[in-house]
């Protein structure tokens, strides 16, 4: 895991001191609210519906136990004893007081964390595959690349006043778990098909929000050494050509769309050719120094199977059920990665109490080389657990209310905070997630349905990624009431696709029934082994349309 060097430490401490001064100057009247607002936003402080909100960066979703314990402490001392893990692999506190934020930032700096660039029109926290360094289908760990981008983009003087916010995601695996196609820049680490050299495929212009778009490939293969210069070329074209007259048309996806992919690519390549690569790209020694922080931990040499694990499975059906769903195969024999679901049946997606954070921190320290991950699906991961330790970990998770067996299933729902917290929201998200979760809470039923990703947003800004949900739900206001649109067929993976609207909006209380009917159509129509999203892609929306409102299906209509 990356550790701050002297420069990182000084940079973060200086920023805390600056923000403390900015709050004081705002109070004294030396700064107007118009002057102060962008400063607080660039330090992750929003004003939400009920209170301020503080968004803390978790770079590429990687944390150690000391950091998670510090987050638990902040939650307890300065918030209401819980935090909310987000689709950006970050953590948000919902109730901090502005006057306490400088002290909170000091506590974060103590554990090499901060809130810099978690808001504002700048390059945001870089996200990555939460199974980085673990997955067998991985070409290379995406975190050294992500860390390089973090360092390059932090307070980059040229890119601190972009037309709009800018999000970058990195995956090193064939199966995309980082939703790179939904980002302003998506990066996939791959091997050159002819030479076998490891490099990058660069995608640009993905994004959700009110104008969702899937990113396009601007470079099929970029040598690793050229990464920062190529990113700088993209950012320069965007910074110069991106629209600043209309915030709804200011993201790079609109620029790529309006320019056309080929002219955009030509502009980037021309800029790249002009740049002095060696002065922009990372020094190879520095890149190697960063990569060394992500060297694999000291795994033991173990057999691929473990008798105590098998015995525990046989003795405890609940443990076996959880293990069947929440484990992910580790590339190292004798180890597994496990997902700690933050989606208890009927609970608030992504929320964890300070007590739960401490439990997870202890488990990470004792059983997972002091490392854990935050996923963009709003869960946590212990990345390197010995098979022989899994039962003990599971028992601790059960005691903490963290052993819900639903990873990737219909109750593993992404939901933004929605109108329960967010000042921008047009409708609530969390109660919709809760009602669906309760309806489909049965483990057996969830397994029968199989992989199904429901993603819910409480406004068109799409923080809940509804456009790429197998079932997407968007909360809007319609005639003074909360109303929910349902889309089907979205996909956040390497087969990225945007969901298609199924029909007019329905009331919140009608959503669980509608999902029930949609799932029933799938169960009736699927071929053996076919996932929900694949069935939707094969069948189209036709068979599902009557399910939205419960209109008579063709068979019923024929019977009459």
């Amino acid at each position: 895991m990356y550790r701050y060097d002297e420069f990182d430490e000084r940079f973060v401490r200086e920023r805390v001191k600056q923000f403390r001064g900015q709050v004081e100057r705002r109070l004294s009247g030396a700064l107007s609210d118009d002057e102060f607002r962008p400063l607080r936003l660039k330090n992750g402080v929003y004003l939400q519906l009920h209170a301020y909100m503080l968004r803390i960066a978790v770079p590429y979703g990687t944390l150690n136990s000391r950091q998670l314990r510090q987050l638990a402490l902040i939650g307890e001392r300065y918030d209401r004893g819980y935090g909310h893990f987000t689709t950006r692999q970050n953590l948000q506190f919902n109730w901090p007081k502005l006057k306490d934020v400088p002290d909170i930032l000091d506590l974060l700096a103590d554990v090499e964390m901060h809130c810099i660039q978690t808001s504002g029109n700048c390059i945001r926290n870089v996200t990555a595959d939460h199974f980085a360094g673990i997955a067998a289908d991985e070409v290379e760990d995406p975190r050294p690349t992500s860390e390089l981008i973090r360092q390059w983009s932090s307070l980059h003087p040229e890119f601190s006043y972009l037309p709009r916010k800018f999000k970058i995601a990195v995956t090193g695996a064939a199966h995309d778990r980082a939703a790179v196609a939904a980002h302003d820049i998506g990066i996939r680490i791959l091997k050159h098909p002819q030479t076998g050299e490891v490099g990058y495929r660069i995608f640009v212009g993905g994004g959700l929000g009110r104008t969702p778009m899937i990113a396009k490939t601007v470079r099929d293969f970029l040598p690793k050494a050229d990464l920062l210069a190529y990113l700088e070329a993209i950012m320069r074209v965007y910074n110069l050509e991106g629209r600043r007259d209309n915030k709804y048309k200011a993201r790079v996806k609109i620029l790529v769309h309006e320019m056309g992919l080929e002219p955009f690519r030509e502009a980037v390549e021309a800029e790249f050719a002009k740049l002095d690569g060696p002065s922009v790209n990372a020094d190879p020694a520095e890149a190697a120094r960063i990569a060394a922080y992500f060297a694999p931990p000291a795994y033991e040499t173990l057999p691929a199977s473990d008798a105590s694990y098998e015995a525990a499975r046989a003795a405890s059906p609940d443990f076996a059920r959880w293990a069947d769903v929440n484990l992910f195969p580790h590339k190292v024999p004798g180890y597994a990665a496990l997902t700690i679901s933050l989606k208890p049946i009927g609970g608030v997606p992504g929320d964890a109490t300070s007590e739960q954070m401490r439990v997870v921190a202890d488990l990470a320290e004792r059983y997972s080389f002091d490392e854990l991950r935050v996923t963009h699906r709003q869960n946590l991961v212990l990345p390197h657990v010995k098979l022989s330790d899994l039962h003990a970990v599971w028992q601790a998770l059960v005691a903490a209310g963290l052993a819900t067996a639903n990873d990737g299933l219909i109750t593993d729902i992404i939901a933004c905070p929605g109108l329960d917290y967010c000042a921008l929201a047009t409708a609530r998200s969390i109660p919709i997630a809760q009602s669906i979760s309760q309806r489909f809470g049965s483990y057996e039923r969830q397994r029968e349905i199989g992989p199904l990703e429901i993603k819910i947003s409480g406004c068109i800004n799409a923080c809940g990624h509804h456009h790429v949900g197998h079932i997407g739900i968007l909360g809007l206001e319609k005639s003074g009431q909360e109303s929910y649109q349902v889309t089907l067929g979205g996909d956040a993976s390497e087969d990225a696709a945007l969901g298609v609207l199924l029909g007019p909006g329905i009331k919140g209380e009608e959503v669980p029934d509608a999902i029930e009917r949609i799932v029933a159509v799938y169960l009736r129509e699927r071929v053996p082994g076919e996932r929900f999203v694949d069935a939707v892609k094969r069948l189209g929306l036709g068979p599902f349309k009557p399910a939205l409102t419960g209109a008579p299906t063709r068979e019923l209509a024929d019977a009459h």
Partner: protein, 109 residues
């Protein structure tokens, strides 16, 4: 400060967040209060203008941010209740956490 939002239909109350703490407050006769039952209700143009002046003054004094008028219905108990669901949530707290926000404080009192 951003341009004042369009005035809503009357009757209306003035809602805001305190600058230093972010807490939701309402303009009452004697100042800002966390209790919506104490909120001054503007029933006519003059009352609305008076509340708007309070919004500007409170902002200028660094007492509050994001102050704006909210149209309300007056309940049988005389307590003003926002007509729009967004402002009702703001008045109460998160609907999924009845233990937090004003709904919890008022329940305890």
């Amino acid at each position: 400060m951003a341009a004042a939002p369009k005035r809503p239909p009357l009757p209306a109350i003035l809602i805001a967040n305190t600058f230093l703490e972010g807490e939701v407050v309402f303009r009452a006769a004697g100042g800002w209060t966390p209790d919506p039952a104490q909120a001054l209700v503007a029933s006519d143009e003059a009352g609305a203008e008076a509340l708007e002046r309070e919004a500007a003054a409170g902002f200028a004094r660094n007492e509050v941010v994001d102050a704006y008028l909210v149209d309300v219905a007056i309940g049988t108990d005389g307590v003003p209740v926002p007509r729009h669901f967004r402002e009702r949530f703001k008045t109460l707290g998160p609907s999924v956490r009845p233990d937090l926000g004003k709904q919890a404080e008022l329940r305890r009192s």
